[in-house]
Symmetry: D4
Subunit: 253 residues, 8 copies
């Protein structure tokens, strides 16, 4: 599109419809964005199916509503995270298709149902990790990934995950959410060859230090190839899982 516009402008010069000076003036108005770096924004569209995600924490219902209206109008699809029921009611008025995910506080709108691809598996250790796990799952789903979940399979009852090893193998990418000792990604990482994205949660008290304990454990995972997100960052994990899940087939050289 950009190239098309640019070529059109150059052709207008060739055709004498525009003077070089006038074209020059227009080119100078072209921001760096217009001239190649613009792919940034274009990429953003491509990868998410909607231009922006609303992080509701610290925004008033009015502010969220205004942004949501603009996004839904243009794209029909929406993801808003860390919202509450109050904000949901505003969005519901804008779009009947709005769904509220109460554990994570995420709101999704999907104008017309699109296909999902691949398989991103979201695994979590305990019931308290569910808000973060749900945020990851909802994010990957609304972006276009097929998502499955496997909750409450913490390592203190190791048979729970062992009984479902086949489901690990079926996934293309695995998000593992855990607080406290952050041990689950190490076990999962040892049971699968798929990329593992570990998300520490702020679950726990005392020396859990708001998730720092789980974060450090995951960074030091004895299973190789485990990558870590910020504490409670289910959204980031879901986004990355979708990016990985939707990679095209590779070609040997």
């Amino acid at each position: 599109m950009l190239e098309k516009n640019l070529l059109k402008l150059l052709e207008q010069i060739a055709q004498g419809k525009t003077t070089p000076q006038a074209a020059m003036a227009r080119l100078k108005d072209f921001s760096a964005e217009d001239l190649g770096v613009a792919s940034v924004d274009h990429h953003r569209h491509l990868r998410q199916g909607f231009p922006e995600v609303i992080y509701c924490a610290g925004k008033t219902p009015d502010e969220v509503e205004a942004i949501a209206r603009a996004i839904i109008k243009r794209h029909g699809t929406l993801l808003a995270t860390r919202a509450d029921k109050k904000i949901y009611q505003r969005v519901k008025k804008l779009a009947k298709a709005a769904v509220f995910h109460p554990r994570s506080g995420a709101i999704t709108v999907e104008g017309e149902k699109r296909k999902r691809t691949g398989l991103a598996l979201v695994v979590s250790a305990g019931t308290s990790d569910l808000p973060v796990a749900e945020e990851a799952a909802v994010t990957a789903d609304i972006m276009g990934s097929a998502v499955e979940t496997m909750y409450d399979v913490g390592v203190a009852g190791i048979h729970r995950i062992l009984n479902r090893v086949d489901r690990l193998s079926a996934a293309r990418v695995i998000v593992v959410v855990a607080g406290m000792d952050g041990a689950l990604p190490s076990v999962v990482g040892g049971l699968t060859a798929r990329p593992v994205i570990a998300v520490p949660t702020s679950v726990g008290y005392g020396a859990a230090m708001g998730g720092l304990s789980a974060l450090l454990a995951m960074l030091n995972s004895c299973a190789s190839g485990v990558a870590v997100m910020n504490i409670d960052n289910g959204f980031g994990a879901g986004t990355l899982a979708h990016k990985i899940n939707t990679l095209p087939e590779n070609v040997s050289k």
Copy 2:
């Protein structure tokens, strides 16, 4: 293979060649590994093309040589990390194909040259980050990924990375290595839709705190979908990059 053995045993019972009691005794000797969880080890082979990587730090040359001999004999391929010239000379005697990568201290042996697939791009901020960047690149390469590198493109001279945006787009997965302010993954993450694996390095002094500064910055990257490895963990980044890079094509449902 496992199933084959198991089926054979069951058929021997059916054929009266083995009593149920004798079969029972043998089945009890089957470790959990034999009965399904065994996929673990099998996976490890599949994903790396060689069963084990030697982490040389804290091992004597004798110990490394013994392990390396066993691995090369069985697989023909080897990766040893955090080695020195002394250890390299030992390995060189075992395998003429041994190559020493002096910045990272990695040793690779590749019996017969295999094909590489996809593209993993390793980007680093400063010259001091090279040992870690090289470890990531060497790891992904020996495992079977096509690897390119883009070094010394730190954000304080932002045009360096902007001039090569096309190379970012060409990659399937990008490893970004940086110390000090750890700012590069945020910029790269904003310029590409590909998965970004950030590796903080222990480069810097004072409040760099042995890489903690870069680690925290990367965990808090304002670009969504950036995952983080432990400080200086180039090996882990290379492993994960290879896993992501070699994912098969996805299927929509």
Copy 3:
């Protein structure tokens, strides 16, 4: 039981009642749990006398009530920690035997009074440490240990503990709860040959850092053989004390 089932299956093959292929299919469906690791859950029952403890923080009264009803029905015995009066009233309706321990917020139900064994002694330094000390004492008691307490014997008035040295000697295992300087476990550890479990509390302000000060002091206890629990983790200390207290007699070889 497991073995019995397995043997039966094998015999059916021998007797021609089942083909090897059909048996194979059933064996593959056997989860890892079925094949030996299942003892895990069984152990949990054995060691606690009730299958699960309800950690009420972050759960609604409805959720706690539902879980409590199921547990009481099956076991008659219950431990719920970090509850409040509101939750207690729900549990009281389910079981007349319900008792609320107001300092720690623990709820216990003991259908019919069981015997207690051994002696677990819970020692605490100051009055502010009582909630955690009570949680440890209530936990060990409901699990089946005989429990005694010795409160408010902090080291700044060292005669208080010295006057009761005999009671230390009478115990099989000692839980020591302290905040601030965390000094009490070192003194107790020097006065007894029994296992000492130290629990730091988040009591204090300023450089107490939410219990970190006491935690570090206890980890560095100059009395050998003192083990440490997480900050404020009275439940964990009570559980471990009960495990130690109820060990069977040892046999020399």
Copy 4:
């Protein structure tokens, strides 16, 4: 014994063999130790079989030799930790029975072989954890516990520990040694009802922070009843394991 002496003194007064004033003088010379608190030292003898353990770090060979000579002379048995070959040679001259444990740097002397009782199992995650694991095992052994070891069973290859669940069940107390993610105690704690003592090691780099990562993970273990020792404190773990292992049988009330 103490009481006997005291009673004897009082009887001498009654018999006129000693004046009240002379008895008074002797009683004043009785230290607090003599009057009840003295049990402290007596306990120390009872529980270890030898009065003192030599922590060699920071002591010269001359100093260690002098202390070792005194201990061996009186007790025939010795434990010296964090020693080197140089110190060992000194001790070897003092006692032919001296044994050097090279991984941990421990030296033991056992005049005449004593019986061992019970079973303390020492489990470790990786080969780099061996020095600490060995220190724990050697300590519990020389103190009188029967000790078994299960090394290199880290959670990234979970089948390794699952295959030996029966050995976990056979132990009376389990010491679990791990660095990096410190995940092993959580898995072991879920597989056994026995007391678990977790020892973090300073193994790892970057965000392992000299063992802090493993320490925090262990304090936050999702398996209940796991107690934690200081980083690298194999000696403390061995001491506590022996205390727990040698508890007499319990009596129900």
Copy 5:
């Protein structure tokens, strides 16, 4: 002035109007302030145009009103930071010219409009950084600097700042406000030769640690010559920016 007074006193001695002893007494009463250090306070006036800034956090409306009244009466100009609407209404009654800046909670009063000089540019990364950015801008403005702002130009969309490089060049001093990864000052520092003052904000969650992540990143900026303020300290940044912005021309020697 000081010298004049002192000389006058000395001349009175010479003229016999004062005895040495009486002069001595007066000299002893001269505080250190009278003897040269007094310039301190004078400087404060000179540099800010008003004697004191009111930090409202922790002060009652009554207290703020009393201080504000005194300052406005004497100077006509006022800056109060971290105030709320309630406090603003009090100040509004004192001075009609009072303006409330709602994002930062700053109140300014400027009796008669004064000229502004130079150019201090305040740049911020995200919308959540606005309160701190506004505090910096308002502070520099009321002190007498010409101020421009460039908001929402975080590095994850690098084209946003690249499109306005000319505005960076136009400034004499640049305040860069950012939370989370704190990467923006490094990019800005590489794009300009002007002094850069970096202000970390407490924006973010998890490993952002209340701004510590951004603070460390900024202290380790790979762009040379970036100085850092305390977390959220927009006021300090505005003050320093004004000091730098209003330096007189330099003279070569």
Copy 6:
């Protein structure tokens, strides 16, 4: 120049010398650098008078010599930091004008003596802070600032700095270097209206924590408008001091 080239290209289209398609291809090859961002590098030259500073730590004498040769050849001026005598001897061979500053390990080369402007004052607290203070002074000097120093004026002997208040007033910008309690910048900041750049040093032991104590104190300076550099970063402070010191005169609007 850029615009000229671009206009020329557009005119060639207008003149039919180039087709729109060919022009399009050339425009696409224009890197971002060619289109305005290129000023970055030009700025770097302008602001320092030499293109690059050599940070010698971690570089071999050969590497430093190669870089130094290139820089001296093109610019005649050089700054190399954290060097040692060995490296100095290499540089001395390249340039007779090379000077070694032994406390900081800085090397400077100034082909022909240039004028210095303004006044940057470097103040330090104790003798152990001298290496960092010297690095700051040498850096600002070689970049073109007139530099004065005032060493060993720590706050425990407050009269030392009070006696030289006039020298503080004479400076345009003040660098204050201190370790341990980091108190000096607060005192200096209260005695002057000039911009103050604080540099914490890693001097001290125990709770000094490698300079963290001084760093935190400086970030929390009770004197407003004090900006802080990384621990031991004398080079950064000198660079910033020079930038501030050489600002042109301001114009009121």
Copy 7:
């Protein structure tokens, strides 16, 4: 006294009034407290003039009232810290002499006015440090020290403290209270030969880290002989100041 009782008992044996066995039983009942260590409690009375101080935080008004009633009845004098108006009203009913100190929340009761001795000077940096400074002053005063205060003399206006150097010299012991940069104790310590007790306060935001910044600075004070209390611990500082202030005259040997 103790000795007298003991001797009497022994004489009763000698006189046949008591049998050795009966004496033995009584001796065993003698707690450690009876045998010399009992001085502990007695000391507490001697040094403070009242047996206990009530730390009200976390206590209900009922609890405080009960304790206060007991103390006032026996001693007539009372110190209660961290109280509020509600608690004060309860105490006021118990004792008309009760005084509420609103900044610190301390309550004092002094039945009949006692003499004060010596001079403890409490110095504070800013107005926000007043609660802690007042707690120190009230504590030392009610314990019996003559107390003077010098508030708002922070180092950013160094002349404020310099003008009152004579008052520093007049004190026997100086408590210095400061938050943020914690610089004041270093300056005071350099201006006086008296013992200096430094108290960090939790005043500040961002990198002040709840007083940690000031705490570290004070521990690293460049003035020798400055001792430090816990953050916000005005009570501890007042207690220690009183202990030091009331030491009797020393005797040369």
Copy 8:
């Protein structure tokens, strides 16, 4: 002395021997030090008996020798800390009375033996704390305090300190040196009414964190009125102990 000089100058004006202008010039040369703040330095002499203490760490033998020569010449008395044998040999040549204290590395010179006054008691927990304890004892002694020591009385063997409670009571001020759990000051503080100065040492490993564990424990001591020095700062403790020990008798008002 200062006043005398000043008065003399004023009299010379009165007598016409000096003109006001000439006096003015001289007065201007008078530094702030000359006019009252000068007492600072004078105090330093008074309180220590020698003007300066040499901190040898980081100084060459030549530098130490030069400073030592100057001090010994003027004062006859010397304290040098953190020295080694090499430095000692230099000082020994300067002064035959030089004594080397090998544990702490302190060197003292006392020209002619002076009287000691009062009693400062230095208590330490373990043998590894001796270097710091000795530094405190040597410092207080050479400054003029009578010093006694009580070593190796850690709380794990509580009877050791209980047996010597009388010696605690005899002291005017007590320095308590301990590493690891830092528990000893709490016990000592509870056994005495005297001022207690706690010194944490960097003894220990793992979570001892270079003394941080002991430091935090001491700051949170449950005994009121315990003040804390920096880690390993025996010199500071000795200095403060001497200041407290040598306070003159107090007068009631």
